[in-house]
């Protein structure tokens, strides 16, 4: 990483530009970025892409619910047992995936970066407290914690995002911390200290920019985890019932015996969408890791 001199933040924005340019060089990162782009586009234009209202119960005739219809031009992926259009549900499910993925990733990266920065920079008791806290969090079983929290407060997206953020920050914080420990010894931090910069100024102007790419990397991994967690929680019935999500669709399919009827058109597509989006997160982090931090691999 380039040593940050007068305008460290400009260097940082340059690094983010580099991060984006990497996508064009690494096949994995490119595929991942394209999937993310497609997901965001579908989420934005969901109302145009969807062929039906996803929560509307459809009828084939008077009082006859359009249950379990096979795939057709009218219903691209058929209908659910409750008579709803599967394709449209799939399209709208992308919105919840985007919301959960991005907010959780942002929270994880923000908490992890902040705590990692503080503990690596100030060391001493701050470091001890943060690292012991990380130990405790790693001692909390992930999904059970989400379930219990969802049950005791109220089931819904916010609870899931909150628990993902609370449980996933330690990995980010640990990596950021060790990076800060090396950065703070570098000459430019020393120079800043000698010239009388305040501690906070050194921390946020001189140290923080050089660890931003790492936050970005761990944020992109968190996107996948958040979506998987949301899916699992929804599947177990702890999601927000008013929001259409892929996990919720799978729960609906499971509860309505879709497997027994061999309704692959119902339970395969939502799972595939989850795989694709989570995979995109893996691909991106993998590609960036390889280029930004070659010493971590190779």
């Amino acid at each position: 990483m380039a040593p940050a001199r007068p305008s460290a933040w400009r260097t940082a924005s340059g690094q983010i530009g580099r991060v984006l340019r990497i996508a064009s060089r690494d096949w994995f990162a490119l595929a991942g970025t394209l999937i993310y782009l497609a997901l965001i586009l579908v989420a934005i234009f969901a109302d145009r892409i969807a062929t039906h209202d996803p929560s509307e119960i459809l009828y084939t005739g008077r009082y006859r619910i359009a249950r379990n219809l096979p795939m057709s031009w009218d219903h691209l992926l058929g209908t659910t047992h409750g008579g709803r259009d599967i394709f449209s549900q799939l399209v709208y499910g992308s919105r919840s995936a985007v919301v959960v993925g991005l907010t959780a990733a942002f929270c994880v990266a923000a908490i992890g970066t902040l705590l990692g920065l503080l503990s690596g920079f100030f060391r001493g008791w701050v470091d001890t407290v943060v690292m012991r806290l990380a130990d405790v969090v790693l001692g909390l079983p992930f999904l059970p914690f989400v379930i219990v929290l969802a049950a005791l407060t109220r089931p819904g997206t916010a609870t899931i995002v909150f628990s993902v953020a609370v449980l996933l920050w330690p990995n980010t914080a640990r990596v950021i911390r060790s990076q800060v420990l090396t950065v703070r010894e570098r000459a430019f931090v020393e120079a800043a200290r000698v010239t009388g910069c305040s501690t906070w100024r050194i921390l946020f102007v001189h140290v923080a920019p050089s660890i931003l790419p790492l936050s970005f990397l761990y944020g992109s991994i968190a996107v996948g985890w958040a979506i998987l967690t949301e899916a699992s929680a929804s599947f177990l019935g702890f999601g927000d019932p008013s929001v259409i999500s892929w996990g919720g669709m799978l729960q609906d399919a499971y509860a309505s015996q879709a497997m027994g009827r061999g309704a692959y058109n119902w339970f395969i597509p939502p799972g595939l969408c989850i795989v694709l989006v989570v995979l995109a997160g893996f691909f991106i982090s993998r590609g960036y890791e390889e280029i930004l931090f070659p010493k971590l691999r190779s």
Binding site: R132, D135, V136, L138, G139, L140, P141, F142, L143, P144, F145, I147, V148, L149, A151, L152, T153, G224, L228, A231, S232, F235, L236, G237, G247, L250, A253, Y254, A258, M259, G260, G262, Y264, F267, I268, P270, G271, I274, V275, L276, V278, L279, G281, F282, F283, R286, R297
Partner: protein, 325 residues
């Protein structure tokens, strides 16, 4: 000894904090804590007796001390729905979860280690180019979805396996051991274990591959080559033995992680283990049982984190044998 002692103290500390968190979560959530704790179908007199027995009429710190004391004695209260001691129920479910977790992990790790070593061997090849994204995809797939596919194909489609549960209706066994090693049990275990194994094999596979690649660059592997040792000796005795260090640690961590993570697989296959117990308890507002199941899952996780640390030290002489030089 200092290392082991330090780790032990840390584990006990984490357990204590988790137990405290659990206390706070279950008592301080919105609503009347006594309503969370006490069955609504009780008579007023029963309710009062219950309150006194659990110290719920006392100030919070006293309640906390009573809670800790009860925990240490293994007293986790009674389940609302089943009316039996929580500890008893939890200890009944634990072996089933452990059986599922261990069988899946063992299959996953044997496969993952071999396939990972193979892919390290084949690096840069087409096989690798296809296999790596495929493995990543299994890591990205929700476990319950893999379970649903397996169910649809093998249980409902072909009818080869049962669609859920851990025993056929009416099956009775003399002892728990007899049950766990009966054919009927294995027959029920196969699909859920397979679903879990498909999900779990990615980690050891990728880990084995990357550490193998790293170790193969090490000077001692080059030296083994210079000594004219056979390729087999080099790969197995030197490269793989070194690469196994982190994989073994991951295995121990995997036990802890998947006892909790089994929640969804157990639900899909109606496997009567701890995870499913937690879900049904939470859904049925059976708070004592939910808290007990949560605590045991957390305890297994902390214990396995500890085992992983100790195992690493034991396998790596650089940690277990001090410096004399």
């Amino acid at each position: 000894m200092g290392y082991v002692g330090q780790r032990l103290i840390q584990a006990v500390f984490v357990l204590w904090v988790v137990a405290t968190l659990c206390f706070l979560m279950f008592r301080l959530m919105p609503g009347d804590p006594t309503l969370n704790y006490i069955d609504t179908s009780m008579t007023e007199e029963q309710r009062q007796n219950m309150l006194v027995a659990f110290g719920l009429d006392q100030p919070l710190y006293v309640q906390y001390l009573i809670y800790l004391k009860n925990l240490l004695r293994g007293e986790l209260g009674n389940s609302f729905l089943q009316g039996r001691p929580v500890l008893e129920l939890v200890l009944e479910a634990l072996p089933l979860t452990v059986a599922l977790t261990l069988s899946a992990l063992i299959v996953a790790y044997i496969f993952g280690v071999i396939a990972g070593a193979f892919l390290a061997w084949k690096r840069g090849s087409l096989t690798e180019g296809v296999a790596i994204p495929l493995v990543l995809a299994t890591r990205a797939a929700p476990e319950f979805w893999l379970g649903m596919i397996l169910l649809a194909i093998f249980a409902f489609g072909y009818g080869w396996f049962p669609s859920g549960g851990a025993a056929s209706a009416g099956a009775e066994y003399g002892s728990e051991w007899e049950r766990l090693f009966s054919l009927d049990f294995l027959y029920h275990l196969l699909l859920p274990a397979l679903a879990l194994a498909v999900y779990l094999q990615g980690l050891p596979l990728l880990l084995m591959r990357s550490t193998m690649l790293e170790v193969m660059q090490d000077e001692f592997v080059t030296m083994a080559r210079m000594k004219g040792l056979s390729e087999w000796t080099i790969v197995i005795r030197h490269a793989a033995r070194n690469a196994l260090l982190p994989v073994a640690t991951a295995f121990a961590l995997g036990i802890g992680g998947s006892v909790g993570g089994n929640v969804v697989v157990e639900t899909v296959f109606s496997w009567p283990g701890l995870g499913r117990m937690l879900v049904t308890a939470v859904q049925g507002s059976d708070y004592p049982l939910a808290q007990g199941a949560f605590l045991i899952i957390a305890a297994v996780l902390v214990l396995m984190n500890l085992v992983a640390d100790l195992l690493y030290g034991w396998l790596d002489p650089r940690v277990s044998h001090g410096r004399k030089g």
